[in-house]
Amino acid sequence: MKRKLLGAVVLALATLVFNPVWAQEAPAVDRTSTGGAQTLEDILARQKQLEIDESFRSENLGNPANAAPISGRLGTLGGRSDSDIYRAIRYNKIDPSTQARGPAADVLIQDGGIPWYKLREGPVITYGGSAILAIIALLAVFYFVRGRIKIKGGPAGTTVERFKAIERFGHWLLAGSFVALAITGLITLMGRSFLIPVMGPEAFATLAAGSKWLHNNIAWAFMLGLVMTFFMWVAHNIPNKLDWQWLKVGGGIFTNAHPSARKFNAGQKIVFWTVMLLGFSVSLSGLSLLFPFEIPMFAKTFGVVNTVLGTDLPTVLTPHEEMQYANIWHSIVAFVLMVAIIAHIYIGSIGMEGAFDAMGNGKVDLEWARQHHDLWVAEVEAKQGKGGSS
């Protein structure tokens, strides 16, 4: 029952996302002025994603029987005009061949461009941009209400090694490339709406080309950082009962309590798995976009989703549809990641005294460590007592 309900919710959400305007029937159009061909009203209605009776053109494919005889002055064109032929291609009424070669060369017309463009320029920018502004505002309010989380009783003055150089290198490789990807991604997505009016099309063209180059190529550093941090930290991020205790008191963030934690507390584990799962997903969709038409994955993914949730998502997609889904998914996942990482940056820098040192020079104040990771400190001290290292 729950599965069916979940399936219905996912289907409803998918329908909402990919149909920003509910399919309404377009008003009847008078086409006498165009001799039955489509009018401006038809084009505008299609752009608004209204439901149009397409039979006026899907059935208007010419008639070879009407061809003028070859001896006639216009006889050589035959009974179909170019428009007739392209309409037949659009509605899959003929099986054409083409001399063009390439991964998607056998798709001559694909209708999904306008809905994809409107979704990208509309809800994706609006909701994604709003989410980023909202988390920044929320953190600012939190900072002024709660203030900086300080080390109770002040720093001990002695330090303990928290992260080795290779761990910090992996973290900063991931973090540095992610910030570059986020900025260049936002420029690519929002530049047309927000930057061209400010800096003009010529300057933006240079910026956009540079952003595209950096985004496409620094993505490899992001993926390497993701793999490095996964293998270095996954063993410390397996959820356990202690995490539940930590979560029940909200990590002590509002109460000044310091629930016990090992190397990573439940909040850090949430960030870790968010980065790993969404980072993996954004990398896959990014690879699909980086190698156009070479790595289609949405038709198969939808097939799996349909099997698991009983939904009816499309499992046959044209190469261009695959790219459109990959682009939208890439943007949505990237926005969720950005929101999570902004919060992570806050708590790892101005939000908490002593936290940045962990990734700054690898050594944290002993008192900070005892307050936030008491069990980890005990483990380190036990190892040191036996002549080991952290």
Binding site: F169, H171, G176, N217
Partner: protein, 41 residues
Amino acid sequence: MKVMISAFIAALVIASLAPPVLNQFGWSSAEQTSSESVRLD
């Protein structure tokens, strides 16, 4: 901080190396969409 700066530089080095390495492996967007006889490069 040295590690942080090193990682940032490494990210830029990886980004710079990515296009020639991909080319070496035989992938270029031009090759995907046109044959050699019609390319200008």
